[in-house]
C-alpha cells in the first residue's frame, strides 16, 4: 500500500544572526542554508498494517508524512501510496487518504462540526443518506453526540480532536496518516481515540501510519515501528525487537526482607539503585536465569519482578546520549 524508496527532503532555510547587526546583514545579503530533513529513507507498508513512526522532535517524522500524503514534494526518491504518486495529488488518490495533524484543524472554528461534515460529504461525493449513516456510525464509535451541533470553538480539546477524526474519516480512506492524534488529550481521551483507531483498522482494513510522542499509543496500536533520527531510518521492525536492540538488558526489581549493602550485588548485573529493602538491577538476558537463582539463594526475597525497560525512556535516553 505504501512504498518508499530512497526518499529525501532538503529544505532551504534563511540563516539570520540575532540582534540589529544580524538583521541588517540579513536585509543586505540574505544567507540560506540547506537542511536535510529526511535522508534516503526506504520502507514498505502492506495493506491493513498499523505502523508507528517514532523519533525525537525534528527527526523528520512529520516531513515524511507530508511527503507520503502529497502535501510537499520530495527532493529525491520515489513514493507510491495506494498506487499513486502522492505529489500529483490526483483526485482518486486524495479520496483514498487522509491526514490528521494533532493541533491543526480542518473544522470551521465558528460553526458546529456538522457544517464542516456536510461540506466534506459534498466534496468527497458522498450521498446524503450515506453521509448520515457514516456520521452516525463514526460518532457512536467516537462517543460524539450533541457536540456535533455545538460550535467548534465551544468544544474541549478532546471533543475537537474526535470531531476532527470524524471529519477526516468520513470518506472512508484506505490510508490514514496520523500525526500526533492524541497530543494534548487527557489520559481517558487518549485511550478512547486509541480504541477508536484500533476498531477502525479492524473494521475497514485501513493502513495506518501513526506518529506519537506517547509511547502508549504506539504499544497499544502498532506491532511494527519505524524509528527515524536526524532524517535517517534507524529501525524498521517489531517494537519488542527495537527494545532489545536499544537495550538488551532486563530490569530486575527486588524487595528484600532486610536491608543489604550495595557491595553484596557485585557480579550480579548492573546495580541501578539500592535503597533500604528495594534493589534495582539490570541483567543481560542470557544471564537472567542464573542471576535470579543466585539472588533467591543469597537473599531473603519478599518480591521479585523482571521487566523490559520502558521504551520511551530508552529512546529518550539514547537520543540524549547520541547513541542512535
Amino acid at each position: 500500500m505504501i512504498e518508499v524508496e530512497s526518499l529525501s527532503k532538503i529544505y532551504r532555510v534563511a540563516d539570520k544572526q540575532p540582534g540589529l547587526g544580524g538583521t541588517l546583514q540579513h536585509f543586505m545579503r540574505r544567507r540560506h542554508r540547506d537542511v536535510c530533513a529526511v535522508s534516503n529513507v526506504s520502507f514498505t507498508i502492506a495493506r491493513g498494517e498499523m505502523v508507528g513512526f517514532l523519533g525525537a522532535n525534528g527527526a523528520g517524522k512529520t516531513t515524511t508524512l507530508k511527503m507520503l500524503c502529497g502535501l510537499i514534494y520530495p527532493s529525491a526518491g520515489q513514493v507510491v501510496v495506494a498506487g499513486h504518486q502522492p505529489q500529483k495529488r490526483h483526485p482518486d488518490f486524495l479520496r483514498r487518504i487522509t491526514l490528521v495533524m494533532g493541533q491543526k484543524q480542518q473544522l470551521l472554528w465558528d460553526l458546529p462540526p456538522m457544517d464542516s461534515l456536510r461540506v466534506n460529504a459534498a466534496v468527497y461525493g458522498i450521498s446524503d443518506r450515506d453521509a448520515k449513516r457514516r456520521i452516525s456510525e463514526l460518532s457512536d464509535l467516537l462517543e460524539l453526540g450533541e457536540e456535533l451541533t455545538r460550535p467548534v470553538r465551544k468544544l474541549s480539546l478532546g471533543q475537537r480532536m474526535k470531531a476532527e477524526l470524524l471529519a477526516a474519516l468520513l470518506h472512508q480512506p484506505d490510508v490514514l496518516f496520523l500525526d500526533e492524534p492524541t497530543l494534548g488529550l487527557d489520559v481517558n481521551a487518549q485511550a478512547r481515540v486509541r480504541k477508536f483507531l484500533a476498531d477502525y483498522n479492524q473494521r475497514t482494513g485501513a493502513t495506518v501510519l501513526l506518529t506519537s510522542h506517547y509511547m502508549a499509543d504506539i504499544t497499544a496500536l502498532c506491532p511494527r515501528v519505524l524509528l527515524i533520527h536526524q532524517g535517517n531510518l534507524f529501525h524498521d521492525g517489531p517494537l519488542d525487537r527495537l527494545a532489545s536492540r536499544l537495550a538488551p538488558e532486563r530490569h530486575v526489581r527486588l524487595e528484600l526482607a532486610a536491608p543489604v549493602g550495595a557491595e553484596a550485588f557485585a557480579g550480579l548485573g548492573r546495580l541501578d539503585s539500592c535503597c533500604d529493602c528495594e534493589v534495582n538491577l539490570r541483567v543481560q538476558p542470557d544471564e537472567l536465569t542464573a542471576v535470579v537463582a543466585q539472588l533467591l539463594d543469597r537473599f531473603e526475597v519478599r518480591d521479585l519482578e523482571v521487566n523490559d525497560p520502558p521504551i520511551d525512556q530508552l529512546i529518550g535516553e539514547l537520543f540524549r546520549q547520541g547513541k542512535v
Binding site: 529544505y11 507530508k66 500524503c69 502529497g70 502535501l71 510537499i72 514534494y73 505529489q87 495529488r89 483526485p91 486524495l94 479520496r95 487518504i97 487522509t98 491526514l99 495533524m101 491543526k104 484543524q105 480542518q106 470551521l108 465558528d110 460553526l111 457544517d115 464542516s116 456536510r118 461540506v119 466534506n120 460529504a121 459534498a122 466534496v123 468527497y124 461525493g125
Partner: protein, 265 residues
C-alpha cells in the same frame, strides 16, 4: 461533472456553509459595509467643489454614480490575499490541498457568503441615501439591472483573480500582502472610486483603460446608474482580463504548490 472538483451540490453546500459562517461575523461585516462609504465622502467633496462641472455630470448624475460605485464596491470587494496568506502561513491550507476540490473554490465561496451577508446593510445604507437625496432616486430597468449585476460579478472575478495571482506569490515570498498595497494606490485612483474616470486628463484615461482598474468600479457603476457607456467594449475588456488572468493564476498556483512547505502544519 466537476470543474476543478466543483459540482452543483458542492456549490450549494459550500455557499450555505460559508453564508452561515459569515453570519457569525455579521457585526463585523456591518462595520465593513459602513467603512465602504468612501464614495459618499467623495460625492460630498465633488458637490462642494468648483471642479464638478469637469466631470460632465449634473448633480443627480453624480449622486447616482457614487451610490452605484458604493454598491458595486460592496459586492466586488476581495480580501483573498490576506485570507490566503494567513492560511498558508498557519498551515490551514494543508487540509484544503488534500481534498479533491481546488482550494480556490473555498475562497470564492467565502467571498460570496460575505456578499450575501452585506446585502441587508447595503440596502439600509442605500435607503438612507435616498431619504437624504430624494431627487437621486431611481430604479434601473430590469435589463440594466441584469447588465449591472453581470458587470459587477465580472469585476469581482477580475479582482479575485488579480488577488489570487498575488496571493500565489505566498508560495515564494510568504508575505504577499505587501504587494497588495502596491496595487491599492492605482486601484484607488483609476477604478473610479475617488472620481469618475471622466475627471482625469485624456492621457491618464487612455492609460487607465489598458489596466483592469476602470472595469472594477467605473464601468459597472455607470451601467447601474444608467449612464452613457460602451457596453460591448466594457464587457469585452472585462472578459479579456478574465481570460488572461485565469490561466496565469492556475499556472502560478501549480508552480507554487510544488514549493509549498506546509509551514505550521
Amino acid at each position: 461533472m466537476r470543474i476543478f472538483g466543483l459540482n452543483r451540490k458542492i456549490i450549494r453546500v459550500l455557499l450555505g456553509t460559508e453564508y452561515a459562517h459569515m453570519l457569525e461575523y455579521r457585526a463585523e461585516i456591518a462595520l465593513w459595509a459602513l467603512s465602504g462609504v468612501l464614495p459618499f465622502i467623495m460625492l460630498s467633496l465633488w458637490n462642494g467643489s468648483d471642479a464638478r462641472d469637469a466631470l460632465g455630470m449634473d448633480g443627480v448624475g453624480l449622486d447616482r454614480y457614487f451610490l452605484s460605485a458604493f454598491l458595486v464596491r460592496q459586492f466586488s470587494v476581495v480580501w483573498m490575499i490576506y485570507a490566503f496568506e494567513e492560511d498558508a502561513l498557519t498551515g490551514r491550507l494543508s487540509p484544503y490541498l488534500l481534498q479533491p476540490l481546488h482550494p480556490l473554490w473555498r475562497y470564492v465561496a467565502s467571498h460570496l457568503g460575505e456578499q450575501l451577508t452585506r446585502l441587508p446593510f447595503a440596502a439600509v445604507i442605500t435607503a438612507i441615501f435616498f431619504l437624504i437625496q430624494p431627487n437621486a432616486f431611481w430604479l434601473p430597468s430590469f435589463g440594466h439591472f441584469v447588465l449591472a449585476w453581470l458587470a459587477t460579478w465580472m469585476a469581482f472575478s477580475i479582482a479575485f483573480l488579480l488577488q489570487s495571482l498575488i496571493a500565489s506569490l505566498c508560495f515564494w515570498s510568504e508575505k504577499a500582502s505587501a504587494l497588495e498595497r502596491l496595487l491599492f494606490i492605482p486601484f484607488l485612483f483609476l477604478s473610479g472610486l475617488l472620481a469618475p474616470l471622466t475627471a482625469f486628463p485624456p492621457f491618464v484615461r487612455t492609460l487607465a483603460q489598458w489596466t483592469p482598474f476602470p472595469y472594477l468600479i467605473d464601468f459597472p457603476a455607470r451601467v447601474l446608474a444608467e449612464q452613457p457607456v460602451d457596453l460591448l467594449a466594457g464587457f469585452a475588456i472585462q472578459s479579456a482580463w478574465i481570460v488572461l488572468l485565469l490561466p496565469l493564476v492556475l499556472l502560478f498556483w501549480r508552480a507554487g504548490v510544488r514549493r509549498y512547505s506546509a509551514m505550521g502544519a
